[in-house]
Symmetry: C2
Subunit: 392 residues, 2 copies
C-alpha cells in the first residue's frame, strides 16, 4: 500500500539497548515491532486523524520518521475503529507501513471532550465533533487500539489538571489509573503488539515515585510518563521528570508523552527517555514557525519577504533541498496556500529527525552532553517560546 520502504525486521515487540551514555542516563535502543524497527531516542510525528497534517506517507518517510502516533479518541469518534478494522487496520487505511503507536484516548477525553464525567469504571463524555454520547473504559480503549492495529497500545489512565492537590492525585492513582492499568493488561492478547503503562502523579514527586514503583511491577512492554507538558512550569517539568525516570525499568522503552521542544527533548534524553511525540513541530509549521539549529524562524515576518535563502542552509529536507526560498514560503503562508503548510511541515519534521539522529550519534560517540549543551545554546528558547526574537 504505502510507497515507502519499511525499515528493519518485523516481529514481536522488543527493545534492545544499543549503547549507554557514560555521563548521563541517555541511551540508544532499537525497538522491534510487528511493522519494523525504530531507533531511539525517537520523535514520533502526530497523525491525529490517521494523517500527519501536511505530509503524505512518502513525504513523512522521507523526513526520516519511523514511528507515527495516532489518536484513539479522534479515530474512535471519526471514522470509527470498527470501520478502520474492517478496512484492514490503521496501517493500510492511512498508507503507513511503519510502526504506529496509539494513545489511549484518556488525555483527549479530559482536554477536548464536552461534559466528560469520570467514574471508577471509565469516562462518559460527548464528542467534540457532533456532541454524541460516548464512553471509554480501560477495556474499550484497549479494544479500540487493538482494532486499529497499533504496534504500541497505551493503557487507559486518568489525567488530572496539573494543579490537582495530593489527595485528589492519590485517589485517582489508587481508584482509577492503577486498577485501570491492570484491566488493560487483562484484556491485551499478548500477540506481539506492545502495551505500555503510563505513570501519573501530578506535580507530587513522592506520588510519582510511588506510582512508577508500583507500575513497573506490572508486565508492561514499556513505560510512559504522562501528565507533563500540560501547563506546569519548566521547573516543575524538570523536577517531576527527575523524580520519575530513575524508577523506570532500564530494559524497556521509556516514553515521555506530548513532549516537545528540542530543549525539552535534550533534557529528557539525558534523563533516559527514549520516545517522544508532540504536535508542535507540525502545528507550528502550519502557523509559520520554521525550526532550525540556529533557532526558530517566524516565516510570516516581513524580514523574509525578499530572502532568496532556503529555510536552513545545512538542511537536507525536501523543502530546502529543492531550493524553495524563504520569500516563496512566506508568500505561500501569507496567501494561506496549502503548499506553504506542506513545505513547512516537511522541513520541521526533518528538523526533528535530524535532531534525533544527532542525539543518537552523539550518544554512540560518547559526546551527548556536549552536543546537548551546544544545541540548546544555539537553538535558544525553543519552539514553544512565541515571544522569542526571530533569530533568522
Amino acid at each position: 500500500m504505502s510507497s515507502s520502504i519499511n525499515s528493519g525486521e518485523r516481529g514481536p515487540f522488543a527493545c534492545e539497548v544499543l549503547s549507554q551514555c557514560v555521563h548521563s542516563a541517555a541511551r540508544r535502543t532499537r525497538l522491534r515491532t510487528p511493522h519494523g524497527t525504530a531507533e531511539t531516542p525517537a520523535f514520533m510525528p502526530v497523525g491525529t486523524a490517521a494523517t500527519v497534517k501536511g505530509a503524505d506517507p512518502a513525504a513523512l518517510r522521507a523526513t526520516g520518521s519511523e514511528f507515527v502516533l495516532c489518536n484513539t479518541y479522534h479515530l474512535a469518534l471519526r471514522p470509527g475503529a470498527e470501520l478502520i478494522h474492517e478496512l484492514g487496520g490503521l496501517h493500510k487505511f492511512m498508507g503507513w507501513d511503519g510502526p504506529i503507536l496509539t494513545d489511549s484516548g484518556g488525555f483527549q477525553v479530559f482536554s477536548l471532550a464536552q461534559l466528560s464525567k469520570v467514574d471508577d469504571d471509565g469516562v462518559s463524555f460527548r464528542s467534540h465533533i457532533d456532541g454524541s454520547a460516548m464512553r471509554l473504559t480501560p477495556e474499550s480503549a484497549t479494544q479500540i487500539q487493538l482494532q486499529l492495529g497499533a504496534d504500541v497500545i497505551m493503557a487507559f489512565d486518568e489525567c488530572l489538571p496539573h494543579d490537582a492537590d495530593a489527595g485528589s492525585v492519590r485517589a485517582s492513582l489508587q481508584r482509577r489509573t492503577m486498577p485501570w492499568a491492570e484491566r488493560c493488561i487483562a484484556l491485551h492478547p499478548r500477540d506481539g503488539r506492545a502495551l505500555f503503562g503510563i505513570g501519573q502523579g501530578g506535580m507530587h514527586a513522592d506520588l510519582r515515585r510511588e506510582h512508577m514503583s508500583a507500575l513497573r511491577e506490572l508486565p508492561f512492554d514499556g513505560f510512559a510518563v504522562g501528565g507533563l507538558s500540560v501547563g506546569e512550569s519548566s521547573a516543575d517539568f524538570r523536577r517531576i521528570l527527575e523524580a520519575t525516570t530513575p524508577l523506570m525499568p532500564t530494559d524497556k522503552p521509556r516514553y515521555l508523552m506530548g513532549v516537545g521542544s528540542a530543549a525539552e527533548i535534550l533534557d529528557a534524553v539525558a534523563l533516559g527517555i527514549d520516545m517522544f511525540d508532540c504536535v508542535l513541530p507540525t502545528r507550528n509549521a502550519r502557523n509559520g514557525q520554521a525550526l532550525t539549529f540556529n533557532g526558530p524562524l517566524r516565516m510570516r515576518n516581513a524580514a523574509h519577504t525578499s530572502d532568496a535563502r532556503v529555510l536552513e542552509d545545512a538542511c537536507d529536507c525536501a523543502t530546502c533541498a529543492r531550493g524553495f526560498s524563504r520569500a516563496y514560503i512566506r508568500h505561500l503562508l501569507m496567501a494561506n496556500e496549502i503548499l506553504g503548510a506542506m513545505l513547512m511541515t516537511t522541513h520541521n519534521l526533518r528538523f526533528m529527525q535530524r535532531l534525533m539522529q544527532r542525539i543518537r550519534e552523539s550518544i554512540a560517540h560518547g559526546d551527548f552532553a556536549d552536543f546537548a549543551a551546544a544545541t540548546k545554546s544555539a537553538i535558544g528558547s525553543g519552539l514553544d517560546n512565541k515571544d522569542a526574537p526571530d533569530k533568522g
Copy 2:
C-alpha cells in the same frame, strides 16, 4: 531548482502542427517554449498564486502536466512582480521548470477587484486583498508578465459581462481591446517568449468574427478566445465558439480561456482548440468531487464511507496507484485534512491529463470523434453539474 525533469527542447516559442483530424478541426501540435515543449491539445492547471493548490511541483509534474497557468492579477498584488523578478522569475520562485502562461489580469480585474473603473487607457481598481489602489494598462500588464518571466504572455483586454449589448461590445472592441492589443505588441520585446491576442465580442457572433478577423492580422504568436464560460448558456457557448474558431489562424496555437469540463474540452477540441485552463479540476478536488471516466464522484457522500476501492480502478495517479481507498479519502475530506485536498488534487489533475493524452492519441489514430462521443456519454453531464447523480 525543481525536482522535475523538463521535457523537450527549449527555445524561442514555436508551434508545430503534428496531425490533423480528417473529420473535424481537431489537431495535435507541439509547442516549443523557452522552458521546454508541451503537446496539445493541452490542459494547463491553474497556479493562481504561484502554486497549484494542493500539489507541489513534483506531484504536478507526475500528473503529466506540462504547461501551468499563473494569474498576473494575483501575483501583481501579492507578492508583487518586481519581487518575483528580483528572485529570478516565476519559474525559479515556484520551482516549476516547465512552460508557464500568465493571463493578462484583465479578467480578474473585472471579476475580483473592487471599484474597478475602466477608461480607454487602462483600468483603475482596488485590491481585493487589502483595498489598495492599483492600475493596469496594456503596458503595465505586459511589463508585469515580462517581469514574471512567463513563456506565454497574454494581451490585456477588456472583459464585459456576457449579457453586454452589441453597442457596448463594439465600442469596447474599437476603443479598448483592439488598441490595447496593439499597445501590448509594441511593448513586447520579441525575445522568444510568446504573446497571444485575445478575441472578444461577447455573445454577438458577427462581432466575434469581425474582431478575430482583425486580430489575426496582428503579429501575435497565438490566439485565444476570451469572454466565454462566464455565465452564458451552453448553447451560446457553442454558438460563439463555432463562429470564432474558423477565423483563427491554423499555424498558430488556439487557446480557449477558462474552460473547462471534459465535455466542453471535447467539443472545443473538435473545433480546433489546442489549449485549455480551468480551476475546476483543482477547486472541485478540494470540495470533494473526484473526476473519473465513469462520471464524477462526490466523495463526501455517505455511500463512500466504507468503500475500500480506489477512486478509479484504471487510474495510474499517485493517489490510486498507492491504494488510498475511497473510505480514507472521504474520512480526510470530512475531517478537513490537508491530505484529502492533496490526494484529490493529484487524482483530478491526472484525470485531466489522461483525458488530454487520450484526445491526442485518438487524433493521431484518426478516431477522435468516436472517442469524444463515447467519453461524453460515459462521463455524463461533466464536472460542472452539481446536481448530477453520483454515478459511483
